[in-house]
Amino acid sequence: MFIETPALLPNLTRITVMQGQACVSDGPRVEFSTVLGSCVCSCLFDPMAGVGGMNHFLLAEPPHGTACDDFDEHYGVYLMELLINDMLTHGAAKTRMRAHLYGGASLNPGLARIGARNAEFAHDFLAAERITVVREDLGGTQARRVDFRPARGQVRCRTVESALAPPTNPTLRPPSPTGDVELF
């Protein structure tokens, strides 16, 4: 299970997980940190393997009055799959994974929909993959800071000054030629 409020740990290596990134570790002195506004972060943990991972994303919002297909679900599924595959490479099993979800706040009333839509995506994805969400802190109007120690599944989530949250720009696909087909 996830344990809250990690104690101070000497020689801690703190890694900031930026928007669009996924990080996985089984290092006992590793801590992943991120600050979220409208963005959502998923923390996955396999208690038997002692492995955890965090990602951080903000998918493009569907413009008003358009089909939901405009929401970049393809990229979202890809970012979640990157995290899960990295967990598997570190010895985790999908059936043992447990999830925490944080973020999806509405810091700007004009952008109320994007955080909620991203939180909904993360929920739907984890439900489809049969990964149980054991704790979530989503929505609201305040930014959050999340600290996660992956090897033990310890999480701390607290609200912070909204000015600390990164600007609300959707996580765009990298310019690399993903989706291109190479025939051998």
Binding site: V77, M80, E81, L88, A93, G179, D180
Partner: protein, 135 residues
């Protein structure tokens, strides 16, 4: 009296290209099913290499699209087993993966894959690739 116009024989219509997708992610299977059925393909889906082999033992298919990282039997193992027999020796197999390393791509190629696609996939490019390898 004129002879009645001959109606087209429904059996003359081309049957849709049959595609088997192999991916352990339910979300990815849903995206693939939506993208490929929308392009007129007949789609079947398996959750890993083992399930794909069981399905292929009883069913015919024109193109296989497989992920690499899967439990039980991964994409490399699936390709190797299909190529080891005679029935699927020449079956087009497209790899669709989050892997971007040249080493993994080379391994897929030497196992007998027909093509390599890095996720996130573009539905139109994927459909074009399926059409190209199935003819």
């Amino acid at each position: 009296m004129n002879a009645p116009a001959k109606l087209p024989d429904p059996t003359d219509l081309p049957s849709p290209t049959r595609v088997l997708t192999v991916d352990d992610s339910a979300s990815m299977r849903a995206l693939l099913n939506h993208a490929l059925t929308g392009e007129g393909f007949a789609v079947s889906q398996a959750e890993d290499g083992e399930q794909a082999l069981e399905w292929l033992a009883l069913n015919e298919v024109d193109v296989v699209i497989t992920d690499i990282n899967m439990p039980r039997l991964d994409g490399f193992g699936l390709i190797e087993q299909l190529r080891a027999g005679t029935r699927h020796k020449d079956r087009p197999i497209l790899v669709l993966t989050t892997e971007s390393s040249e080493e993994k791509k080379a391994r897929a190629r030497s196992a007998g894959a027909t093509g390599w696609i890095v996720k996130p996939f573009a539905p139109d490019k994927l459909a074009a690739a399926v059409r190209r390898v199935s003819h």
